[in-house]
């Protein structure tokens, strides 16, 4: 018996199509791909932690910022699993509470970017012509700055704060969604069912909302998942520089910054919050990849 050697192609009609509904594909992906499972797990833990922070944290008051100067810089132990920081706060509680601003910012930034970008992109893609041209030039302009640079500068101009940083991120992020929505809309504009709707006199806003938005939802959702992770990473970076969250906000990036100068001796102060950023971003990235595979069976490998 001989098995095929390295020619990964098949006559298209040679394989009987298996029953592959979305649910079946989701199950199969989760079963086959431990990365996808890990991603879902991380997202679940992250949401749970953010929601239940006051109950999960060993010391909720310190999680919110209360200090205990008598217990400064304690190494990890059973009493303080993640140790304590320079102000004696239990790091585990701080990290748990850190899930809240992270989640809030991730949702806010992505939502803002979607709310601004998607309608603009859809209108541009649907109308075409001069509106389209103008919008694309504007997005080009935004995308011609290195990532994060524009957000950094806007935050610096507005003054460092978590809200300003979120706004700045949203401002530099919406063009991506405008492009995505425009692409989907353009590819659908000539689709027969859209023509049919037009012929039957369905008004343009209704067409956009009912038909095009529905088809654009999945790619936008995938992008939003990946971006939520990237936003958490970005806001952590801005906080680390001192441009976003200000003390005593339990922000992961800020906590890493606090532990920066003493990282050789009190390694735990910077390590655990950074790990939280890393794991959350990693989980959301893996989940986004898995969603892409599930929603677009052709890209599955």
């Amino acid at each position: 018996m001989t098995t095929g050697v390295g020619v990964p192609w098949v006559e298209p009609d040679a394989i009987a199509p298996a029953a592959t509904g979305m649910l079946a594909r989701t199950q199969r992906t989760l079963r086959r791909d431990p990365a996808a499972l890990f991603g879902s797990f991380v997202l679940f833990v992250f949401l749970l932690t953010a929601a239940l922070a006051p109950w999960l944290a060993p010391n909720a008051e310190q999680g919110r910022g209360a200090t205990d100067v008598g217990a400064r810089e304690l190494a990890p132990s059973w009493a303080h699993l993640f140790g304590t920081d320079h102000l004696g706060r239990d790091m585990l509680s701080r990290v748990i509470f850190g899930a809240r601003p992270a989640l809030l910012v991730a949702v806010a930034v992505v939502l803002l970017a979607v709310l601004v970008g998607v309608p603009l992109g859809m209108v541009a893609g649907f109308r075409g012509g001069r509106i389209d041209e103008l919008l694309m030039r504007i997005t080009d302009l935004f995308l011609s700055f290195p990532p994060l640079l524009l957000a950094m500068v806007i935050t610096a101009v507005l003054g460092p704060s978590l809200i300003h940083a979120s706004l700045a991120l949203a401002v530099s992020w919406w063009p991506w969604y405008a492009r995505l929505a425009r692409g989907v809309t353009q590819s659908l504009r000539q689709a027969p069912f859209i023509d049919a709707a037009r012929v039957f006199g369905v008004r343009e806003p209704i067409i956009l909302l009912r038909h095009i938005l529905r088809n654009a939802t999945t790619p936008i959702l995938v992008q939003a998942t990946v971006d939520a992770g990237t936003v958490i990473l970005a806001i952590g970076s801005l906080s680390f520089l001192g441009l976003a969250a200000q003390p005593p906000t339990p922000d992961w990036g800020l906590m890493v910054a606090n532990g920066r100068t003493s990282v050789v001796t009190e390694w735990w102060i910077a390590t655990f919050p950074g790990l939280a950023i890393f794991l959350t971003t990693l989980g959301l990235n893996l989940l986004g990849d898995a969603m892409r595979d599930i929603l677009d069976p052709r890209s599955a490998t």
Partner: protein, 322 residues
């Protein structure tokens, strides 16, 4: 003289999730002599392309093949990969259906042909370039030296197919597999390509496995023809005889569907019904559900039997005239 290629009970299954998802070839038997041209005919999905690819063991990763494919005394299916590679392109070569996608878009045509020579003949760059130019001239491409420098997108389909043929005969193979070599070309170009192939065959004496869905074309070009249906050979014989007097009802239906047999003013007859899917495994004759001559015996599959000298057919009712 022994056959150059003999295929014996070749079966090919596609596997998915550890189970057989479809039977693509269900036991192919073929024999090809030296210098002979054999046509393999059938509808889309009957397995003719896979048969051709199996001969050089270019199988998809999710396929498993059993049976024997003996080329020049050695079984291709059990040959070590290394030896197989030195046969591919040197002793057995292939011409594909779509010349436009079969060449790499980012290398000049000449370089791609040189790669083959450098691989199999161990030639140096200069030497291989000279030889490539020579063979490009042999396939009647104008100004070979210049053509070598062109990228695939700068040449027409017909020119590309000539270049592909040049690539196929570079190392003087003993077998050339032509998989629908003219399907992507228009009629006059197709004629020219066929004429070229024939004259090259006459000159160099290689055997040809000519895969096509077009009976007329195969009849023109080949000495012998094998008709495939649902992964099996259902009839084979000398082209001249088989096309004049087909035995199998399926071959007859195919011939009648050719435009040249049509009565002017009447619609072209079509073979009604459709090919069984790859998963079904009919016990009887696979053509029975579509066959006008079906009888109860057809529930047991008829073997491919030599009914007249050189003529084989897998049908109980081959003698029935229609």
């Amino acid at each position: 003289m022994s056959a150059l290629l003999s295929v014996d009970d070749l079966r090919l299954d596609f596997v998915r999730d550890g189970r057989v998802a479809s039977h693509a070839l269900r036991g192919i038997d073929l024999e090809l002599g030296r210098g002979e041209a054999m046509g393999i005919v059938g509808e889309t999905g009957c397995g003719k392309t896979l048969t051709g690819l199996s001969v050089i063991r270019m199988l998809p990763t999710n396929a498993t093949a059993t049976g024997r494919i003996v080329f020049d005394g050695r079984d291709v299916l059990t040959l070590p990969e290394r030896e197989l590679r030195s046969i591919r392109g040197a002793r057995i070569s292939m011409v594909f259906q779509s010349p436009a996608t079969s060449f790499n878009p980012v290398f000049p045509i000449g370089r791609q042909l040189q790669h083959v020579l450098e691989r199999h003949m161990g030639m140096r760059r200069k030497e291989s370039a000279r030889r490539v130019a020579e063979v490009l001239g042999e396939v009647e491409l104008p100004d070979p030296e210049r053509t070598m420098g062109f990228y695939p997108h700068e040449l027409s389909g017909g020119m590309l197919q000539r270049a592909m043929i040049a690539m196929a005969i570079l190392c003087r193979p003993s077998l050339l597999i032509a998989d629908e070599p003219t399907t992507a070309l228009d009629v006059t170009l197709a004629e020219q390509i066929l004429r070229l192939l024939r004259s090259l065959q006459r000159k160099h004496g290689f055997s040809v496995l000519f895969i096509s869905h077009d009976l007329d074309l195969v009849g023109d070009f080949c000495d012998r023809v094998a008709v495939l249906y649902a992964g099996r050979v259902i009839e084979s014989g000398p082209a001249t005889e088989l096309l004049v007097r087909p035995f199998h009802p399926y071959t007859r239906a195919l011939l009648q569907a050719l435009p040249r047999h049509a009565e002017p003013g009447t619609p072209l007859p079509a073979v009604s019904g459709s090919v069984p899917s790859g998963l079904e495994d009919p016990v009887g004759c696979a053509f029975a559900p579509r066959c006008p001559l079906v009888v109860p015996e057809c529930a047991v599959r008829p073997p491919l039997a030599e009914v007249l000298p050189g003529r084989k057919v897998a049908c109980y009712r081959w003698e029935v005239e229609t």
